[in-house]
């Protein structure tokens, strides 16, 4: 059986859901004729027609607003932001309209906003961001960040079927990365929103992470194993809601924890995790909670700058050694 890429897995998930449910449709900039800037929606226009694969003007706010309106009438829209960076233009519709309708007047808004995020593709300040925390801080939304091909498909399906608005962050670096190609089950499977996945079992310390940083953690873990440091890697997969039990379980098991993300530091998800761990598992800790994140700067363009910006295996090795020795 052929191996599937992360980008193909997202497309498969969307396509299968569109076949399953006539109410599912796609709208966004260049998603139809062109098949999407990253070809996530390639072939869907031919398969489902222009009524269900809709090219829109460059109007992120209206794309999400129109998705909300269609959802209010019972449809299941998937709105594409061409780059996650552009989601700022739709911030108001997402955080004020979509997120609060159910709470205010009982009107669920089952939309998916797809947001291609992340760096390491030389995209510069406006094509590389990880804006997930704006939405994690908005009650009423759900936020997912798949790291594997299996999860990319399983989570897009769950997001489409979910009765509430889901922001689906798909990491651009993973789209066609050979390392994440895998053979997918032929059956109709989903990945539940709010459940983490243990990517590596270990006993010395835990790295809690998500998105493309899962692979930085795994590479570091392989290196640290040679030094006798046995690292556990927990992939959150969902940030809102996040898997509190899995987080506490790994912390209680290893007693030492590194929180790793590609997003910048202040107000990053690591801060929330650190608070939860210290509130609920303080007695289990044998060392300080350590964060490894991007610095608090915009995402720079030039390769040496971007390399400096992104958390790397060497960063994890250094911090893990310090924490192990603590």
């Amino acid at each position: 059986m052929a191996l599937t890429t992360y980008v193909d897995a997202i497309r498969q998930g969307i396509s299968e859901e569109m076949e399953r449910d006539d109410n599912v449709f796609v709208l966004g900039e260049d998603v139809g004729i062109y098949g999407g800037a990253f070809k996530v929606t390639a072939g869907l226009l031919e398969k489902f027609g222009e009524t269900r694969v809709i090219d829109t003007p460059i109007s992120e706010s209206a794309i999400v607003g129109a998705a909300i309106g269609a959802a209010l009438m019972g449809l299941r829209p998937i709105a594409e932001m061409q780059f996650a960076d552009f989601i700022s233009c739709a911030f108001d519709q997402i955080t004020n309209f979509a997120a609060k309708c159910r709470y205010r007047w009982g009107a669920g808004i089952p939309i998916v906003v797809r947001a291609p995020s992340g760096g390491n593709i030389h995209g510069g300040p406006f094509h590389s961001q990880n804006p997930e925390m704006h939405f994690v801080h908005t009650p009423g939304l759900k936020v997912v960040c798949p790291s594997t091909t299996y999860d990319a498909k399983g989570l897009i399906k769950s997001a489409i079927r979910d009765p509430d608005p889901v922001i689906y962050f798909e990491h651009k670096f993973l789209y066609r990365w050979p390392r994440v190609k895998e053979e997918l089950p032929s059956d109709d499977y989903t990945v539940p929103i709010g459940k983490a996945a243990l990517r590596r079992k270990g006993s010395s310390l835990s790295i809690i992470t998500y998105g493309a940083m899962v692979y930085v953690a795994l590479d570091a873990a392989a290196e640290l194993q040679k030094e006798g440091i046995d690292v556990e890697v927990l992939d959150l997969r969902s940030l809102l809601p996040f898997d509190r039990e899995a987080v506490l379980e790994t912390v209680k098991k290893t007693s030492k924890v590194i929180l790793l993300h590609e997003d910048t530091r202040i107000g990053g998800f690591a801060g929330e995790l650190a608070a939860v761990i210290s509130e609920e598992a303080f007695d289990y800790l044998d060392g300080p909670i350590r964060r490894i994140t991007a610095p608090d700067t915009p995402v720079p363009f030039s390769p040496p700058l971007e390399e400096f910006f992104l958390p790397k295996v060497s960063d994890v090795l250094r911090v893990a050694r310090e924490l192990h020795a603590y």
Partner: protein, 340 residues
């Protein structure tokens, strides 16, 4: 010549204004008077008595717009009202008690105490709750219209906003998208000439909101927003145009806000002569005069109507005042879907 092939603006020029039948005109009068009385109670009584807290925004002097545009919509059409459109809620069948309980923060209100004043919605009544970021309902209305197109339904959306909202990006994005996709939406602006304290000339450099319609390639029309029959006429043509699959229309209703922005605002920045001028153009008295002149209703019939409206509101207030507040813990409910 019919509305299916000629845009609504051209049709008006060709045919002259149409008039609704007597029965509809009396219904229009009833709803306008009901809105006036209900909002007077809310703003001048319940709010001042401290029974309503928070913001109160009324549409005194603008009643013709929501009533004239919504009175002849079908039940399966959708309304996206704004904050001075009480008539839309009443016409769609939201009860006085639900509305009053909403204003008083009761569990029986349209949002069960979660949101205040005019921030009401009900899918059952095809009423979409607006949010305070005015103009956000324009892209949403576009999406509702898009869904009708996708499903081959001949339903339309009536989407309302004020002059201030037309300065927002969402308004422009939504209008453009609706125009490009030919969504069946009627965009109706209540141009009451002030956005909070900011007069029109500081809001836009064009003279009329409707001047923007050609920029989106859609018909635009200006009507006297204090003439409910003119609002009805323009709305009917635009509704027909949208229902026929021709896309959106932008109707601008020239009117005036006969109050401050909200109950706490004395509107000291508005020249008094403006209030005097617009008082003489009061939409309710205009319709009453016209109906009496045409013997469609008598002076005593108007008094009877007013008395009926007052006692209905008295009853609803009495019930809503006794309605319970939400439980404090309800704060935590309904953020996400919950299995019932």
């Amino acid at each position: 010549m019919n509305a299916k092939t000629v845009d609504p603006h051209t049709l008006a020029k060709l045919q002259g204004p149409a008039l609704p039948p007597r029965e509809t005109q009396l219904k229009i009068l009833y709803y306008m008077k009901q809105v006036r009385e209900l909002e007077s109670r809310i703003e001048r009584k319940l709010y001042r008595q401290g029974k309503i807290v928070g913001g109160v925004y009324v549409g005194r002097g603008q009643e013709a717009i929501a009533v004239g545009s919504c009175i002849d919509l079908r039940a399966d059409d959708v309304v996206c009202p704004s904050h001075r459109d009480m008539g839309a809620f009443l016409i769609r069948g939201m009860s006085l008690r639900t509305i009053l309980a909403q204003y008083m923060g009761r569990k029986t209100g349209a949002t069960k105490g979660k949101d205040s004043n005019m921030h009401m919605g009900s899918l059952e009544h095809n009423l979409i709750a607006f949010i305070s970021m005015l103009g956000d309902n324009v892209p949403v209305a576009t999406g509702i219209g898009l869904s009708f197109k996708m499903r081959g339904q001949d339903r339309v959306v009536m989407c309302s906003f004020g002059d201030g909202a037309t300065s927002r990006g969402d308004w422009h994005e939504g209008l453009n998208m609706a125009a490009v996709m030919k969504c069946p939406v009627v965009f109706i602006c209540n141009n009451n000439q002030y956005a909070y304290s900011t007069p029109l000339e500081r809001q836009m450099a064009v003279e009329n909101v409707a001047d923007r319609a050609p920029a989106y390639g859609i018909p635009g029309e200006i009507v006297d927003g204090n003439d409910v029959l003119a609002v009805w006429d323009a709305s009917q043509r635009a509704i027909e145009w949208a229902r026929g699959g021709h896309g959106p229309t932008l109707i601008e209703c020239k009117t005036f806000r006969m109050t401050g922005h909200s109950a706490h605002d004395d509107a000291g920045y508005v020249p008094p002569e403006l209030f005097e001028f617009w008082e003489s153009r009061d939409p309710i008295r205009r319709l009453e005069r016209s109906l009496v002149q045409q013997n469609m209703i008598s002076e005593s019939g108007i008094v009877e109507m007013q008395n009926r409206i007052s006692s209905e509101i008295d009853e609803a207030i009495a019930i809503a005042e006794k309605d319970p507040y939400p439980d404090p813990e309800d704060c935590l409910r309904d953020v996400y879907f919950e299995e019932q």
